[in-house]
């Protein structure tokens, strides 16, 4: 009886604490909603070309640590064609991406059975801006703004035609994530979102996820839009 009462008391305290934390986080949001953000949104059209090394794997996941240049993705205003041909304006210093799949699937997973997430990002732009993820920090007691990468690897679209070089087997990748700016450039102190629309390249076509997670090296190439206010 005493044990039951103690359990009930502990559960009650835990629930109160959780509600308190949630309310505090919400209070911060509600305060921010009562006035407009004064900053006008800054938008960018960019492109990355990254080389990656496998950094870990498990039965249903594999992660890669990527780095490489970021350049301007230009647009032809007559027909909207988007090309990754501009000058280098930054560098992905570190980006760890994690692919999680349904391990029970035979062959490569369906589009809806892949989750592409991000566990760390540092993107430095030439103007001194530094972009990192906008995620809740589990080490702090109050929840922060949490906009994790919600991405997918789209195996069902099939390999992209015309692959060559060390990573000829390329598959589409897509998704959006929250980012925050720091440093000394135009994006310092701003928050917003980054949306990718590109591809992952592998040394050969994998038969299944077990083979895919065995690849030591990959590449990631993508245009992306960046909007922060």
């Amino acid at each position: 009886m005493k044990r039951l009462a103690l359990t009930a008391l502990l559960l009650g305290l835990t629930a109160s604490a959780s509600a308190g934390f949630l309310e505090s986080a919400l209070d911060i949001l509600l305060r921010s909603l009562r006035s407009f953000s004064g900053a006008e949104a800054l938008k960018y059209s960019l492109h990355y070309d990254l080389q990656g090394q496998r950094s870990g794997s498990g039965e249903d996941w594999v992660s890669w640590r990527l780095e490489g240049p970021v350049r301007v993705a230009t647009v032809d205003t007559s027909d909207a064609q988007w090309r990754g041909e501009g000058p280098v304006v930054g560098q992905v210093v570190e980006w760890e991406l994690r692919l999680r799949v349904d391990p029970t699937v035979a062959g490569l997973p369906r589009n809806t059975q892949t989750e592409l997430g991000s566990t760390s990002l540092r993107l430095e732009l030439a103007d001194g801006s530094v972009l990192t993820e906008l995620l809740d920090d589990p080490a702090t007691p109050l929840p922060e703004t949490d906009i994790p990468l919600q991405g997918r690897l789209l195996f069902e679209l099939g390999p992209i035609p015309g692959g060559s070089g060390p990573y000829p087997a390329r598959y589409r990748a897509t998704g959006c994530m929250g980012v925050q700016g720091s440093g000394s450039g135009a994006l310092a102190g701003r928050r917003g979102a980054l949306c990718i629309s590109g591809a992952f390249g592998f040394p050969r076509r994998p038969a299944d996820f077990a083979e895919l997670r065995s690849f030591e090296q990959v590449e990631a190439v993508s245009g992306f839009t960046l909007v922060l206010h």
Partner: protein, 259 residues
């Protein structure tokens, strides 16, 4: 090293990298060879769409339609400076559902999401983009390439957790950031995207004309202890009860058949 010297060194490094890349002569689409990519800018207005509101599902429905042009980008910096002047066609009609998830806090980007129910994009060059609809047995005339064995559902998120913005259209009300990616396919075999399959990703803003940010805050405050049906209904009413517009730069990237 003093900070200024560090910045100079970094700027020099990027300039050198820029020259190397320029010399490599790359002119491929942003996702690499074998892909066709567009970056468009759309500006759409919404009208209420039957069944208007589904209280049980926590969803409200709109029909969006408007103009689209190319995004204008500064080729030196990558900053999106505006939009092109030439119309590229018509964005929409796009039937979209906004869904409230009361199990998530408004501080989460999973609290208010959106999905594409039936979306069309009509390009002036004859291309027509439609959703990937597996098992669709009612393929309209003029969409011979439509059938698909798989789906890439739109995963759209409102970012109310980034705060409210001034409406881009001016006037009262408020703006909320909206982002998301989903599947698409070109179904007529015409134009730059002919027969391609791939994705569309928006990174923009929705503007709500009538309620004030304070009214939104008041409704969201009701979700502090988890929302009930009345609070979900109040939020849906707030969303549905105003004129709604949307603006976004939007990446469309496809692969495959070109006629």
């Amino acid at each position: 090293m003093p900070l200024r010297l560090k910045r100079l060194a970094r700027a020099g490094l990027y300039a050198c990298l820029g020259l190397l890349v320029a010399c490599s002569g790359s002119s491929s689409p942003p996702g690499g060879e074998g892909l066709r990519s567009l970056l468009i800018h759309f500006e759409v207005n919404a009208t209420p769409q039957a069944p208007y509101v589904d209280l049980a599902a926590g969803e409200v429905f709109f029909r969006f339609e408007g103009d689209m042009v190319a995004s204008a980008v500064d080729p030196a910096t990558g900053q999106v400076t505006g939009k092109g002047s030439k119309s590229l066609g018509r964005f929409g009609p796009a039937v979209v559902g906004f869904r409230v998830n009361p199990a998530r806090s408004p501080t989460s980007s999973d609290f208010l999401t959106f999905r594409c129910i039936d979306c069309s994009i009509h390009f002036a060059d004859g291309a027509l983009l439609r959703p990937l609809l597996p098992g669709d047995a009612t393929i309209p005339a003029g969409e011979p390439l439509r059938s698909s064995a798989f789906d890439i559902p739109m995963q759209g998120h409102f970012l109310q957790n980034l705060g409210v913005l001034s409406p881009q259209t001016g006037g009262i009300g408020f703006g909320l950031r909206g982002v998301g990616c989903g599947g698409t396919q070109e179904v007529t075999g015409k134009g730059l995207l002919a027969g391609g399959r791939g994705t569309i990703c928006m990174n923009g803003q929705f503007d709500f004309s009538s309620p004030s940010p304070a009214a939104l805050a008041q409704v969201l405050a009701g979700f502090a202890d988890g929302g009930d049906a009345a609070e979900v209904a109040a939020l849906l009413q707030l969303l549905a009860g105003s004129l709604l517009t949307g603006r976004s730069d939007c990446a469309i990237t496809v692969q495959g058949q070109r006629s």
